[in-house]
């Protein structure tokens, strides 16, 4: 039995939603299909009747500034995000994260929406978007709604979206102001599955020598991409100092649920890497924010 019967290249959002609602059997939206097609081929996902390709829709392929936000369509290929000057300008952590997903060929088809919908706790795209405070735009038959990114995740590999009635169309990210910057870092191992042992994205706002505001996302640190809010709360309003960072690490380690994954990493190794990534990502974001607000420091990363 073929893994899908019908492949619809939807020409409009309306057509895509209707096709999903009216498909005679199971239907799935598909963009790059990087994960879904392999799951289908390798039997981890049962065969579906209809795949509805959303990569040709105006709504899902826009990458532009919309008033005071950056909009990135869910079906924009990662390679386009990597090379986009506006993404680099306003969401450097996302540019960095996108460049790490898959390989060069995969990034020409794989999309940010797919990375998020797959709902893995250490998806580089999700981690960066979470730190950047992105919200998701979701189209349904009754129109569009917006939801904070974190609400899309139910658990490892489980998305909150209704596969039949809801289509993730894109992400809104706040534009960067002076003194703000972001960075994404990860550690891999050369053996086994190319999933991060640990990744982390940090966004911060810098005012003189103070961390005025900060968001830290880390994975895999639980069933869903994690915002380390206690570490954030601790760091907010504090000066950028080694001992402050070290103290915030303790809080991050307390709220992150690092576990041992066989053949990838022990919880202990992850805990140690968390400190490395926190230092590195924080330093990179801090320096970038300094340059952009005319402060000291050069971006060595």
């Amino acid at each position: 039995m073929p893994v899908w019967e019908k492949y619809i290249l939807a020409a409009s959002l309306q057509e895509a939603l209707e096709a999903a609602a009216n498909a005679p059997g199971t239907a799935r939206f598909i963009a790059g299909g990087t994960d879904l097609l392999l799951d289908l081929q390798q039997g981890r996902h049962p065969p579906v009747h209809t795949l509805i390709d959303i990569t040709a829709l105006a709504e899902t392929t826009a990458l532009e500034i919309r008033s005071d936000e950056l909009f990135i369509g869910a079906a924009v290929p990662l390679s386009r995000i990597v090379h986009s000057p506006v993404v680099m300008e306003h969401a450097q952590a996302l540019a960095e994260a996108s460049a790490l997903i898959g390989g060069p060929q995969v990034r020409n088809t794989a999309t940010l929406g797919g990375n998020v919908c797959h709902a893995l706790p250490a998806a580089d795209g999700s981690i960066a978007l979470l730190a950047l405070n992105a919200s998701a735009e979701i189209a349904g038959r009754n129109g569009c709604r917006r939801a904070p990114l974190g609400e899309l995740f139910l658990g490892p590999g489980r998305s909150a979206l209704d596969p039949r009635a809801e289509l993730l169309t894109g992400f809104y990210l706040p534009l960067k102001s002076s003194g703000q910057a972001s960075a994404h870092r990860r550690v891999m191992r050369p053996q086994g599955v190319a999933i991060a042992i640990l990744n982390m994205a940090i966004w911060l706002a810098r005012q003189d020598d103070l961390i005025q505001d900060i968001r830290i996302a880390v994975g895999p640190a639980g069933p869903k991409p994690l915002r380390a809010v206690q570490a954030e709360d601790f760091l907010r309003g504090k000066p950028y100092r080694q001992e402050t960072i070290a103290q915030s690490l303790d809080l991050l380690l307390a709220e992150a649920r690092f576990r041992t994954s066989p053949h990838r990493a022990s919880a202990e190794y992850r805990r140690r890497l968390a400190g490395v990534l926190l230092e590195d990502a924080l330093q990179a974001a801090w320096q970038r924010a300094g340059i952009l607000s005319g402060r000291q420091g050069t971006d060595r990363s």
Binding site: E5, I30, G103, Q105, N108, V187, H263, Y269, R272, L273
Partner: protein, 941 residues
């Protein structure tokens, strides 16, 4: 839908579940597009869609509607300039894209299977970046894998092509040193005879073949590591429409077991019989399509009485372990004895002991196994397969069919890599059984998952080394104890572990040796031949020990090796007197000289291996590490080692050399062509090469043990000389001159000042009732069995390598920056091919150290997808500096000895020794685990 493919509009309706690669290959015949993994990992299927390289194996064909697709078949037409490349290759390369020309000229093409993906990825890169840096190339090609690891040549070829495209000038030829003793052809730079077809996509691999009425075969695997098959019901599968046959053990007309040395491998496990690993076969299906065959597998009901699997070789040797095979779990106890180790240790001033572990690894050739069996009208069976041992395939297929061997013809196809992993039977017998049952051709293609589960691996080992030495570093006694996990079936396990054992004391002299190896059956996937053939494992152990000994004694690690190194006049641990061709010390000296040049510390031995920090990044530590190795050429140990080759002269003046020896990408065809061209003083392009056909080519023996250049090379050499003499004697008679006055020069035979086109000799010979061809059966020098103290091997190659690593002390991450490799290959017959072997061997050795880990848990394979088994990519490829050392061996063709394995063996210990030198963590278990390094560093007192 309509789409544009290679510049032409095509109207075609997508099929349910169809990927672009299926549309291109199966329906449009564009078989230049390759499928290596079918899981988005290897990049072989890369095509260009709307200007961007994408993976056609996970790109729905329907998605290509209205788009513009380019495949390898269209690349030449994309060439903006048609460049001349200089007189010699002008004809060969005319009409090709500069990238294709550069890949041919630079030797970037080896097995060729990944090349379409490499070229299309590279083309997309150059389209948007005409002047790429090395880093740009590495970034773009990161996930386009090459298991021959021609990465350095691929990189150089792309740079050269980019320059040609920018300047409109011909592709600059590569600068590769020729042999130190070049002849007219031998030792000069020559391109592969099959290079052009491999860059145009015209090269045919087994899965590219289609026959009318061809069915698709698939195999029902047990999926359990150990048990007894109690019930098997194939009735539902047989009833499925489109299924032509389902066969079980009782349907095998001939012998039910196969194997290379020991016939212990059931072709199909019967009811009441034992399943010994997850890949065991219980039923085979032939159906009208692969999908139907796959569906039929799901309908086969098999029930097993589950037994506790035996998961490691030490446990398998325990007296209360259940017997996996009737004769027990011990495949072979291999012993090496020299002197008296107890006395040796008593005389030693220092004694060290340590135990090492190495993991299973997979060959991960990019082309998965494929066999096609085709019954012929005259009642024979043709088997199309990429196999390293065509005559052994013929024998095993015939046995299973219950036929005389001659009724089977194996027609070897281009192989997309082998590395030892295509010596055993995989689908050949199953395809033939099905084809015989239904009277139609049957293709049996493994997907990557099946390939990983089923074919034999590199042996996982446990190696204990006890070493005694004097304070001045002189080795006195070495005792080794090896356990080799040969898995469920023997394959070549006994031979592999014998090599591991005889090489386990390293290329050193010592009076006292005791080595014991237990090659054990377990319920893991079988282990067999893999480039290095056991020596990869034992070299890791002994070379780690040599560094540990040097440190313990406070001696220079290079000096201690030099001091004990085998030399002409040495007696090996097996009692073999080495009377020639031992270039180890030169290898050591040349590597050190190159290191000193690079480091620029005036040759201070302490500085060479010192740990250095990276300016601006104090957490990064760098250091060099060093290791040496030796590796036998040929089967040895008393095994008759022979090869036959035939050389024929045609009326058009061209020559052909034929032998069944296998071309798996390593370049044998180039070597054979060069030898015959040399002997006839002809341009190599005049010599055709035919290999791997059991009807048309005489038996060249197995392509294993680095033996082809030497053994089949000699067969070709002597066949050529025999034919040359026959021609000379014909002409001598005709013109009444002594035969030695007959000369051969480009396209001509010269007698008495008279020049005669070589082709005309054909008629002259025929007129005399002679055929213008000569068959030669070459017998390599006799060897003696292990334990008899004689000549165990007729030649050894030697090598030294230095590797520079960088360890991140905050994360444990390790990378290799540079490798210097010196190899004593006797004589470099084919320097371009040799370079590919050296660079590919180093990268494979690096993979063995850093990336590759075939994981089996309780008999079940965890690394059952390429996504879980990582082979090195271009990103990880270090700078490789190759030094060719030539200590000719008298019997070898022009002095040559084996190359294919020695180049890879010292890399792993050179890397792990470098890690120790950088951060003080001794890696005694492979692969290197960055987590262990970090924890060791942070937990260090």
């Amino acid at each position: 839908m309509q789409l544009k493919i290679n510049g032409n509009y095509v109207s075609v309706e997508p099929k349910p579940g169809e990927m672009l690669v299926d549309l291109l290959r199966e329906r449009l015949g564009l078989t230049g597009v390759k499928v290596g993994c079918n899981e988005s990992e290897c990049g072989a299927c890369t095509v260009i869609v709307n200007g961007e390289p994408v993976l056609s194996c996970t790109y729905p064909s329907a998605k290509a509607a209205g788009k513009e697709v380019w495949t390898i078949e269209g690349l030449a037409s994309l060439s903006p300039v048609h460049l001349s490349t200089g007189a010699e290759q002008e004809d060969l390369l005319r009409g090709l894209h500069p990238l294709q020309q550069a890949f041919v000229l630079y030797g970037a093409v080896q097995c060729g299977f990944c090349i379409p993906g490499q070229l299309m990825t590279a083309h997309a890169l150059l389209s948007r970046n005409p002047n790429p840096t090395q880093a740009d190339i590495r970034y773009a090609l990161k996930d386009t894998l090459c298991r021959c690891a021609g990465y350095p040549t691929i990189e150089r070829a792309i740079l050269a092509a980019a320059e040609a495209l920018r300047t409109g000038k011909p592709v600059k030829p590569p600068s590769i040193p020729a042999s130190h003793m070049p002849l007219e052809v031998i030792g000069t730079i020559q391109v592969r005879p099959d290079a052009v077809e491999k860059v145009t996509g015209e090269a045919v691999y087994t899965d590219d073949l289609k026959f009318p009425g061809m069915l698709h075969g698939r195999v029902k695997r047990a999926g359990i590591p150990h048990g007894i098959l109690r019930r098997l019901d194939v009735s539902k599968a047989r009833a499925l429409p489109g299924v032509a046959a389902v066969l079980t053990a009782e349907d095998i007309p001939g012998e039910r077991y196969h194997g290379l040395v020991i016939f212990d491998w059931p072709t199909l496990v019967g009811i009441g019989e034992r399943v010994r690993y997850v890949g065991d076969s219980v039923a085979i299906v032939a159906a009208e399509s692969r999908e139907i065959a796959s569906q039929a597998l799901d309908l086969i009901e098999a029930e097993y009485e589950l037994l506790e699997p035996i998961c490691d070789p030490v446990a398998a040797r325990s007296p209360d372990a259940p017997a996996i095979h009737p004769q027990g779990n011990l495949l072979k106890h291999i012993k090496v004895r020299k002197g008296d180790v107890e006395q040796g240790f008593a005389e030693s001033e220092v004694v060290l002991e340590h135990t090492f572990h190495t993991a299973f690894t997979d060959h991960a050739f990019i082309e998965p196994e494929c066999s096609i069996a085709r019954p012929t009208e005259d009642g024979r069976m043709e088997v199309y397969v990429g196999s390293q041992i065509p005559y052994a395939d013929r024998n095993q297929v015939a046995r299973a069919l219950g036929w005389p061997e001659e009724r089977v013809r194996v027609i070897g196809q281009l192989m997309g890599g082998g590395f030892g992993g295509k010596e055993d039977i995989m689908g050949q017998i199953h395809a033939a059984l099905l084809a015989n049952a239904v009277g139609r051709p049957v293709k049996l293609l493994f997907d990557r998952h099946e390939s990983l589960l089923v074919h034999p691996k590199r042996h996982a080992t446990q190696i204990r080394v006890k070493m005694g030495a004097r304070r001045d570093g002189t080795l006195v006694a070495v005792e080794t104890e090896l356990y080799g996990d040969t898995g469920a079936y023997a394959s070549l396990g006994e031979k592999v572990m014998t090599r591991a054992t005889t090489h386990s004391t390293g290329p050193y002299e010592m009076p006292h040796v005791r080595a014991d190896c237990y090659a054990m059956y377990t319920n893991n996937p079988p282990a067999g031949a893999f480039r290095g053939f056991g020596v990869t494992q034992s070299a890791f152990a002994i070379e780690s020990m040599m560094d540990m000994l040097a440190e313990k004694l406070g001696l220079d690690r290079v000096e201690i090796r030099r001091k004990n190194a085998l030399k002409v006049g040495s007696v090996t641990n097996t009692g073999q007197y080495l009377d020639e061709s031992v270039g180890l010390r030169e290898c050591i000296d040349r590597v050190i000289a190159e290191m000193d040049r690079l480091i620029g510390q005036g040759g201070d031995p302490a500085a060479r291996f010192a740990s250095r920090s990276v300016p601006g990044a104090p957490h990064l530590r760098r250091a060099w590490g060093f290791a040496v190795a030796f590796k036998n050429t040929g089967l040895g140990g008393g095994a008759p080692d022979k090869a036959s080759a035939e050389v024929e002269l045609f009326a058009d003046g061209s020559l052909e050399v034929r032998t069944s020896s296998a071309e798996l990408g390593q370049g044998l065809v180039t070597v054979l062509r060069m030898i015959v061209a040399q002997e006839f003083n002809q341009p190599p392009s005049k010599v055709k090469v035919l290999v791997m056909d059991t009807d048309l080519t005489p038996d060249g023996g197995p392509t294993t043990a680095s033996r082809q250049t030497y053994v089949s090379g000699n067969a070709a050499l002597y066949a050529a000389r025999t034919l040359r003499q026959a021609i000379a004697s014909t002409l001598a008679e005709k013109y009444d001159v002594p035969p030695e006055q007959v000369r051969f020069v480009e396209g001509l035979a010269q007698v008495n000042g008279l020049s005669l086109p070589l082709g005309e000799v054909v008629a002259a010979m025929r007129a005399e009732g002679r055929e213008p061809r000569a068959l030669y059966e070459y017998w390599a020098p006799a060897t003696s069995p292990l334990g008899t103290g004689g000549k165990m091997h007729f030649a050894y190659s030697f090598a030294a390598q230095a590797a520079e690593v960088e360890v991140n002390t905050r994360t444990g991450e390790t990378r290799v920056l540079r490798v210097i490799a010196a190899n004593d290959v006797g004589r470099a017959l084919n320097p371009l091919g040799l370079q590919g072997q050296v660079e590919g061997g180093v990268v494979m050795g690096m993979g063995n150290a850093l990336t590759e880990h075939f994981i089996v848990e309780n008999g079940r394979v965890f690394t059952d997808r390429l996504a879980r088994y990582r082979i090195p990519s271009i990103i990880q490829t270090p700078e490789i500096i190759s030094i060719v050392v030539e200590h000719p061996t008298a019997e070898g063709p022009y002095g040559a000895k084996g190359v294919g394995e020695i180049v890879s063996i010292p890399t792993t210990p050179a890397i792990t020794n470098a890690i120790y030198n950088a951060v003080g963590v001794r890696v005694d278990s492979l692969p290197v685990d960055q987590e262990k390094i970090l924890l060791a560093l942070q937990n260090a007192p």
